[in-house]
């Protein structure tokens, strides 16, 4: 069960950013840009899947997540925790364990037939389910997972991720349009702040990353990527 104190939000963001950098989950490459699923070109890429291999890191992050859920959503507002296939599943399992709640996972595609074809695990009509994923870029996959859970009878109003890009204003608007509130431990702005303080990246790369974070679509267009979210 959750045993941590309620850490300060700023400290959570800073510690999360430090851990992501420490386990080399953050990659910078402005010469050979990465391509997001949405087609946006980016000088930065983050791999939260690495976190599962570091027990002290993942334990701390899951304690942070549990405290965030209890503080921002409530102590008795969630009936179950669902992970999005694939990266969300381990985080959902740990959070469910900490909060003493049942768990499900949501497939990217339906398997078999019926309204529960995309959800594994027991789900009941009206069950209030928290969707868990490792990260969010434009929020598209959260909406798809959320819709699958709702089709199966769940009430899904909240989703939590370890890392939120927080560079597209449309993300939170789109989620709000789907009655979904996003919770996260850290954003690119936190990672950049810590990277700058710790001297993780050289000045040129840092400048390029800042340009991207401030104007992601423009940077993408100049580097062979899409200029709009699709």
């Amino acid at each position: 069960m959750f045993s941590n104190a309620f850490a300060d939000r700023g400290l959570v963001a800073e510690m999360t950013a430090k851990m992501l950098l420490e386990v080399n989950a953050v990659h910078f490459n402005s010469d050979r840009p990465y391509m997001f699923t949405s087609g946006i070109a980016s000088p930065v890429y983050i791999d939260c899947r690495k976190l599962i291999s570091y027990p002290r890191v993942r334990e701390t992050l899951m304690d942070f997540s549990a405290s965030l859920i209890l503080r921002d959503i409530g102590f008795e507002q969630i009936d179950a925790v669902a992970g999005g296939e694939t990266a969300g599943i381990p985080f959902a399992a740990w959070i469910a364990q900490k909060l003493g709640l049942p768990m499900q996972y949501v497939r990217k595609k339906p398997k078999g037939f019926g309204r529960n074809a995309q959800v594994e695990g027991e789900i009941t009509e009206g069950q209030r389910v928290l969707l868990v994923e490792d990260l969010t870029t434009d929020g598209g996959s959260k909406i798809r997972f959320c819709e699958a859970l709702r089709r199966a009878g769940a009430v899904v109003n909240h989703t939590i991720v370890v890392f939120y890009y927080d560079i597209f204003p449309e993300t939170k608007t789109m989620m709000a349009d789907h009655n979904l509130t996003l919770h996260s431990l850290a954003t690119w702005h936190d990672v950049l702040r810590v990277a700058r303080k710790q001297g993780h990246i050289d000045a040129n790369t840092l400048r390029e990353v800042e340009v991207f974070l401030n104007e992601p679509l423009e940077w993408s267009g100049r580097n062979g990527g899409s200029t709009r979210l699709m």
Binding site: N29, P33, Y34, M35, T37, S38, G39, N223, M230
Partner: protein
């Protein structure tokens, strides 16, 4: 005949999303076009496999460009065979494209 799939990829920025849309269109077209179903199914499967393998991975802009060029090459071969009109040419193109996909590990 098959250019619409390439146009779909271009219209959606050659992204993973684009390959998902391309796969959906390819499967729908395969179901509705009996005389080109095998070719459309093959291209749809290729698009779907690309999206499955590369979603959320650190794929670079140059990887995306290379995949787009390969996909366009398959489409050109199938276009040519379907323009030629002979069953033999179509079968040969299907086998050639399927072989290339298998060698690329795309399916």
């Amino acid at each position: 005949m098959f250019d619409f799939l390439v146009e779909t990829l271009e219209r959606h920025g050659k992204s993973i999303h684009a390959y998902r849309v391309c796969a959906e269109q390819g499967y729908s077209a395969a179901a509705a076009t009996p005389d080109a179903a095998a070719a459309l199914f093959l291209l749809a499967r290729l698009a779907e496999a690309f999206a499955d393998v590369n979603e959320r991975m650190p794929i670079t802009a140059s990887d995306v460009d290379s995949a787009f060029v390969r996909f366009g090459g398959h489409v050109r071969q199938l276009n040519a065979a379907w323009s030629d009109g002979t069953e033999t040419a179509r079968l040969a193109a299907l086998n050639r494209v399927a072989g290339e996909m298998a060698r690329d590990g795309a399916a």
